[in-house]
């Protein structure tokens, strides 16, 4: 017992560094020779460390309690407790977010202001540009008139072609305004080669849209249209296709929407990376689900595989300005197309009966 107490106090002094160097040496000798002593040293060290930590935290807690008593907790909690008003609560919770949003708004306003200030000048330059364009165009027109005059002298009947598609089952056909502009007479021809006489019913030169009405007793009702017109905008990269009559037979063109704006940022049109030729004008642009997303109306002259299409929204605007009782089984808008889920070739087979060649004399 005596020895045990002595050993314990030596271990404690050893761990606390209170032994003289000689005692220390002797004790370490003893420790390395006696595993039981060594174990006691280790255990006591763990215990002392825990005790020290306990003492420290206890002291810290006492100090913190003292500090806590100095604080007027009730007054602070009155200030920071959840406010009965939701608005104040949201303001408090999101103070920094609101600050960020506000500074962003201010920044945006300043940027916009300075942008408009700069733009005024650029706008002037653009106007000048456009004037030059117009000169170019009028020159181009003159040349064309001359050539067509030359053709007229040859007495070969001037014949223009384009594409159109049915927007109702009773013979309303939608195409581009520029296809039928200045036409004397208009015929539509289906994929079996049968022609029907048609007349202009509605034109919208700004959006380059025209609606024709088939005026022929031999025309049969088309039945319910397989496609529908897409209500929402189309995303860049969306795969699209068009079918049309760049030649006497129907031709499929494949591509994707490459920009949400047309030529020179024209917001009425999409830019489509698709191969089209003269004659494709007025053809429907369909997505993979069989929705019409636009009408092909032109192509970039200098670049291959860049075409433009009037957005589907303007098709609907055109259709809505036609007396509704004259359209029977009109094309569905924003509904699920019956083509959805079909393979591309099956879709084309179904759609081609509703796509017509427009012949203008």
């Amino acid at each position: 017992m005596r020895n045990e107490i002595e050993l314990e106090s030596i271990i404690e002094d050893y761990l606390n560094g209170k032994l003289t160097p000689e005692e220390r040496m002797a004790f370490e000798q003893l420790r390395s020779n006696d595993p039981i002593v060594d174990h006691k040293v280790v255990a006591h060290k763990v215990f002392l460390d825990s005790m020290k930590q306990y003492a420290n935290i206890l002291l810290l807690k006492e100090q913190m309690d003292a500090a806590h008593d100095q604080i007027d907790v009730a007054a602070i909690s009155e200030k920071v407790k959840p406010h009965p008003s939701r608005v104040v609560r949201i303001w408090r919770n999101n103070r920094s977010a609101i600050a960020v949003a506000a500074s962003f708004l201010i920044l945006a306003a300043v940027t916009l202001l300075s942008y408009y200030a700069q733009r005024e000048q650029q706008g002037n330059i653009k106007l000048l540009d456009r004037r030059i364009d117009r000169l170019d165009k009028s020159q181009g027109d003159i040349i064309r008139v001359i050539t067509s005059d030359a053709k007229h002298t040859n007495r070969t009947p001037a014949k223009f072609g384009g594409t159109g598609f049915a927007v109702s089952s009773n013979g309303f056909i939608l195409t581009n305004y520029h296809v039928i502009k200045g036409a004397d007479s208009i015929y539509i021809q289906n994929n079996k080669g049968v022609s029907f006489k048609a007349r202009k019913f509605y034109v919208d030169p700004i959006n380059d849209i025209a609606v024709l009405k088939v005026n022929d007793n031999s025309f049969r009702n088309l039945g319910i249209l397989p496609y529908s017109i897409k209500k929402s905008g189309t995303a860049i990269g969306e795969m699209v296709y068009t079918i049309g009559y760049p030649k006497d037979d129907i031709v499929l063109g494949n591509g994707y929407v490459s920009s949400k704006t047309g030529m020179n940022g024209d917001s009425l049109a999409y830019q489509v990376a698709i191969s089209v030729n003269p004659g494709n004008s007025g053809g429907p642009l369909l997505d993979n689900k069989g929705n019409i997303v636009g009408v092909i109306n032109g192509k970039e002259e200098k670049t291959e595989n860049v075409a433009f299409a009037v957005k589907s929204k303007y098709i609907m605007e055109a259709l809505n300005s036609i007396p509704q009782d004259s359209l029977s089984n009109r094309v569905a808008y924003g509904k699920r197309s019956t083509l959805q889920g079909l393979e591309r070739n099956r879709q084309v087979t179904k759609v081609q009966d509703y796509v017509f060649m427009i012949k203008v004399y």
């Binding site: 107490i5 314990e8 420290n56 810290l60 907790v73 919770n93």
Partner: protein, 188 residues
């Protein structure tokens, strides 16, 4: 080493130096400086003033241990650190109490401090174990041990305080108490 603190919220450097030098003044300033922040968080997330006190003190212990162990780097603001630790501790308590924890109302940025909080939980368990062991020791053992190990009294002082006839008797008593305490503390 006493630094005169002018503002109510001490700078982070002052706090770290103060804790390293056991300055009670620095601790008081730290405590008063960030308590409102934690109180606001707890009150807005299903807690009351007492919860705030407990959570805040635990968070300060985490910070204190981290600084004392020398592995506290001033990479973040003390304020953000204390807020994040308090937040973590309170959310754990809420889950334990099965109170709902969705829609946490936050007032500050939050750091990832999971490791620190887990380490703290280990230490906290040790603290509780020691506390329980001391409580179950009974008198006079509890006071002798506390006087010797916590209040740093010498065996001579203890001998006089408890009226032992000589220090050897006191030493024997302390030895017996210590053996019992160790047994209690080390038992699984």
């Amino acid at each position: 080493m006493s630094i005169k603190l002018s503002s109510s919220v001490p700078t982070d450097r002052e706090v770290v130096l103060g804790i390293l030098n056991n300055s009670e003044e620095a601790l008081n300033k730290l405590y008063a400086g960030y308590f409102p922040m934690v109180l606001q968080f707890i009150l807005n997330n299903n807690g009351d003033e007492d919860d705030a006190k407990d959570v805040y003190q635990e968070a300060i212990i985490v910070l204190y241990n981290k600084i004392k162990n020398g592995n506290f780097e001033l990479s973040s603001k003390l304020k953000t650190y204390l807020y994040s630790v308090s937040r973590r501790i309170w959310l754990k308590k809420l889950t334990q109490q099965r109170k709902k924890t969705n829609n946490i109302a936050d007032f500050e940025d939050v750091l990832a401090i999971d490791e620190d909080v887990e380490q703290h939980e280990q230490k906290d368990m040790q603290f509780d174990k020691m506390k329980v062991a001391l409580e179950s020791l009974g008198e006079p053992c509890k006071t002798i041990i506390q006087d010797f190990y916590i209040h740093n009294l010498s065996m001579q002082d203890i001998c006089e305080k408890f009226g032992y006839t000589n220090t050897d008797n006191a030493k024997t008593q302390k030895y017996k108490c210590l053996q019992r305490l160790k047994k209690l503390f080390f038992q699984p």
